[in-house]
Amino acid sequence: MSAPGVSHRDDGSVPSDLDLVRRIKAGDEQALEQMIERYHARVYSLSYGVLRNAEDAEESTQDAFLTLYRKIGTFDESKKFFSWFYRVALNQAYSRARRRRAGGKVSIREHLPRFGEDGHLAVPDWPDATVAIEDEVAARELAARAEGFIGELPRAYRDVIWMADVEEMPAAEIAEVLGISIPAFKSRLHRARLHVRQRLAEISSPTRRSLVAS
């Protein structure tokens, strides 16, 4: 890596992503450091969403930034940097996940709400949702289970729900990163939420609990 070749702003303003990209292209180490500082936590969390393992997520984050550095010359400056880089990071994570295990074993249709023939919901399947959420220990356990249920979703749904509901990224950004339309984003997110809700309901229902207890 060469020594810094681009001078820094000295007006105290925060450089834009594009500023940093140009400086990294020119071999500015400090710009790379700033870019890492800016995005490492989000990339780590995104990677964790795919890999669900801290060590793998850390290594995947390193690989993502290495790829960023090596491929930055191919980045089209007319596009948004984060979209390009999040795709790089996601691809790194999925590539690592493929080497480790197969993902998305459950069909999105397997765990959705059930209705009667007339379109009714029958018996409430998750009667104590609020209690569980308000109890800190139960909430932590529920969150861990939810994380697992996200992990069993097919990739198309998993990425959307992780970015939207865990990372809380705006819809337009997610659609852009994943290269899908807003209606497709909404549909996938809703289906994914229904899946996770249904799976949580299955482990929260009194019938299930009594079966586990017996």
Binding site: I24, K25, E37, A54, L66, A129, A132, E168, L189, L194
Partner: protein, 94 residues
């Protein structure tokens, strides 16, 4: 909730069923992107349909659960580790 006799209760409206609310309309209802007239219709349904209210509560609880995953602990000094990793593998500018 016990299923209501056919022809009674909110779910027997031709337009609104629990299924339609849950499967087709809930996203826009929750995100506030549903047209006002339609929203009022669904709110009327909710006012008379405890199972849907329960479903809505659990859907929202799921959202809260997922958001609670966010403050993931990022390993200490990860930024420094990443920087050193990239530096060690790239001797020259990209």
């Amino acid at each position: 909730m016990t299923r209501r006799a056919k022809g009674h209760g909110p779910c027997h409206s031709e337009e609104i069923t629990c299924k339609r609310l849950v499967m087709e309309a809930l996203y826009d209802f929750e995100e506030g992107t549903m047209p006002e007239a339609e929203r009022a219709e669904f709110e009327r349904h909710l006012a008379l349909c405890p199972p849907c209210v329960g479903f809505l509560d659990s859907y929202r609880a799921t959202g809260r659960t997922l958001r609670a995953l966010k403050p993931r602990e990022v390993p200490n000094a990860l930024a420094r580790t990443v920087f050193e990793f990239v530096k060690a593998r790239c001797g020259k500018k990209p």
